[in-house]
């Protein structure tokens, strides 16, 4: 497949950055006082990299909720944004996300609707997990997108688990992309741990959407190496639901070493490159962290300006 060399290396670097970002943010979470929930998408880094490699600044991208930090890879965003705490920016195509899962898919469908109504060639790529894919609101959004042939690509990221529930306990078919037929839109499954294959499918679907061909559904098969989520101190997370050995086996299919191997077989990446990239990325993250944290944060006084009437 004809993926330009610099794009391949960009995707590799993006995946490495994503992984290291999770590690950095986890350390911050553990040592910070922010509470909330901490989620990460280890093992699923190839999918956002393949998506962002196909998007422009004015396009819209919603990562899966556990991968919001991947926005750094979307044109228009940078690493420091991730540490600044302020990502919401419709100009750069990020309309936030809903912690009540699935309720944001219709919102992103609205971005695609606006693009169509105004006659721009913007597209939207909206990602959600296979668990979230059960929500009724997603069904309504997809029916709407299909009815109006909206420029949106839905990416169903099947990491096998929804909380502690394995997807095969819930779905009665093997290929989740079969779902697309019910909406009358194109659907395709892809190995989401193979960044090159994922890139190719995303490119095809994004180009179709951009040129008036309407929406599509990509099912990216992957595996959630990260826990369900890290809870605030005192709260319990149960992680005993994975069959013995499964996690270890899945680590063997980690998309980052896999791509590293491919690139070195293609003669595009040496061991020295790997080490250099690791070091550079670590430096970048450290710099981005200090830049991002220096940016003004929304403080209490600004926050309460959202009050529509009396506070």
């Amino acid at each position: 497949m004809d993926i330009p060399e610099e794009k391949l290396l960009w995707m590799y670097r993006t995946m490495v950055t994503t992984r290291k970002l999770y590690e950095t943010m986890y350390e911050m979470y553990r040592h910070g006082s922010s509470l909330g929930n901490f989620v990460a998408g280890e093992g699923e880094e190839a999918i956002p990299a393949a998506i962002c490699a196909n998007l422009r600044r004015e396009d819209s991208y919603k990562p899966n909720f556990r991968q919001t930090s991947c926005l750094f890879a979307k044109e228009g965003y940078e690493l420091a944004d991730i540490f600044s705490g302020n990502l919401f920016d419709a100009e750069r195509g990020y309309l936030g996300f809903s912690l009540a899962l699935g309720e944001d898919v219709g919102v992103y469908t609205g971005f695609a609707l606006a693009a169509q109504m105004r006659g721009t060639d913007q597209v939207c790529v909206c990602t959600f997990g296979e668990g979230t894919a059960s929500k009724g609101s997603i069904h309504e959004a997809m029916v709407t997108a299909a009815a109006w042939k909206l420029p949106i690509v839905f990416v169903l990221q099947n990491n096998q688990y929804c909380g502690g529930t394995r997807y095969s306990k819930v779905y009665r078919f093997d290929d989740l992309a079969d779902r697309a037929r019910g909406y009358g839109i194109p659907g395709r499954s892809v190995d989401g741990n193979d960044v090159m294959a994922t890139y190719a499918v995303v490119r095809e679907f994004v180009e179709r959407a951009r040129t008036g061909g309407g929406p599509g559904l990509i099912v990216a098969e992957t595996y959630r190496l990260s826990p369900y989520f890290e809870r605030a101190p005192g709260e319990i997370v149960i992680e005993g639901y994975r069959p013995e050995g499964e996690l270890e086996e899945a680590r063997g299919n980690d998309p980052i070493p896999r791509f590293r191997k491919t690139l070195s077989e293609l003669g595009l990446l040496t061991d020295e490159d790997v080490e250099r990239i690791d070091r550079e990325v670590e430096d970048e993250i450290a710099r981005a962290m200090s830049d991002g944290r220096q940016r003004p944060r929304v403080d209490y006084d600004q926050y309460i300006q959202y009050a529509v009437a009396e506070l």
């Binding site: 809903s98 009540a100 059960s134 929804c162 529930t165 319990i236 959202y306």
Partner: protein, 344 residues
């Protein structure tokens, strides 16, 4: 050896008390069934809870306890259908905020339709969820939705603040023949101190508030997680010579207005505290119920009724901001002091 009349109690946390209530009721009545997301797999249907459903699948089997996909609307609607067909479902929806995604099924189907269409029988559904306040989890997780569902005609609303009350009220909820919204609170669920729970069965009737602390100077009416903060505030106030009476409403619908009136008759000052947003929050309902039930008490109040609740803006995902929006112990102390000051 002489018989040792040990009081038959066990020390349980709230999750264990819930587990015991489920177990007893499922043993007692085989029509009691439950489903929700990860009810079996994670053993923790009410998010923030510890192991509420541990062992239930092993004891009662997959016909009576099921994991669902992420389908909140279907969780509620299937519970309604199954209840109409003779079962007594407990439907888990994780958090109060996620109930916004199944608002019609709860508010209108469960809370309205059976009255509107003159359903001749019963509708025994318990909807269980957690309120995850106090940890910057944002509106979808931390929303305390009591006022929304108090406004639905057919729903009872239960919000306990201790493991003991949770067990007794949950058993009552499961035996109730009509819909009950049952909310646990994160801060109650993660409390480290266990409580003495009698082995012997007990039920706590709805519509009975509990005076969690006696005092003569000011009545603080509250419920759910805020009871813990109000009790901490009362302790501080005691150090300053103010005796606050803390009334835990326990159930919002039905509401025990008598207990509030009795307390306010004594103290002459009423402060209502809740975690949910102030505008159209349940405090307004409490105040009006008191005014309607006991105009004489209102006329002789030493100071106007006050309320303390979250500010009228979205719950944030920042702890710094959340702590300034939602009443903290210090805010309750301050509000009670102000009220007592005004009463002099």
């Amino acid at each position: 050896m002489a018989a040792n009349p040990k009081p038959k109690v066990r020390m349980l946390d709230c999750g264990e008390a819930i587990n015991a209530a489920f177990r007893e009721e499922m043993r007692r009545d085989e029509r009691v069934v439950m489903w929700g997301e990860d009810v079996i797999t994670m053993e923790s249907p009410t998010a923030g809870a510890d192991l509420c459903t541990r062992g239930l699948f092993e004891e009662f089997g997959g016909d009576r306890i099921r994991d669902t996909p992420v389908v909140e609307a279907a969780i509620i609607e299937t519970a309604i259908g199954a209840a109409l067909a003779g079962l007594r479902p407990i439907a888990h929806v994780m958090t109060g905020g996620f109930q916004m995604g199944c608002f019609d099924p709860i508010f209108a189907r469960l809370g309205t339709a059976y009255q509107e269409w003159k359903h001749p029988g019963t509708l025994p559904v318990v909807v269980m969820a957690s309120v995850l306040g106090g940890a910057a989890k944002g509106a979808d997780h931390a929303l305390s939705p009591e006022a929304l569902f108090m406004h639905s005609p057919g729903l009872k609303v239960v919000m306990p603040s201790t493991a003991y009350d949770t067990k007794g009220l949950l058993k009552t909820a499961i035996r109730d023949d009509f819909p009950v919204m049952f909310y646990t609170h994160r801060e109650v669920m993660i409390r480290e101190e266990k409580e003495a729970i009698p082995d012997e069965e007990y039920l706590i009737p709805f519509g009975q508030a509990d005076v969690k602390r006696n005092g003569e100077d000011v009545t603080i009416v509250t419920w759910s997680g805020m009871v813990l903060r109000a009790l901490a505030a009362a302790e501080e106030l005691a150090g300053e010579g103010i005796a606050a009476e803390v009334v835990d409403l326990r159930t919002l619908v039905p509401m025990d207005v008598d207990t509030i009136v009795t307390s306010v008759r004594k103290t002459g000052a009423l402060l209502i505290v809740h975690e949910a947003m102030k505008r159209a929050g349940a405090a307004g309902e409490v105040a009006m119920r008191v005014a309607e039930a006991a105009p004489d008490v209102v006329r002789t109040l030493k100071a106007p009724i006050r309320r303390l609740a979250a500010k009228n803006v979205a719950l944030p995902t920042s702890l710094r901001i959340e702590r300034r929006l939602v009443p903290q112990v210090g805010d309750i102390v301050q509000a009670a002091q102000d009220l007592v000051q005004e009463s002099m």
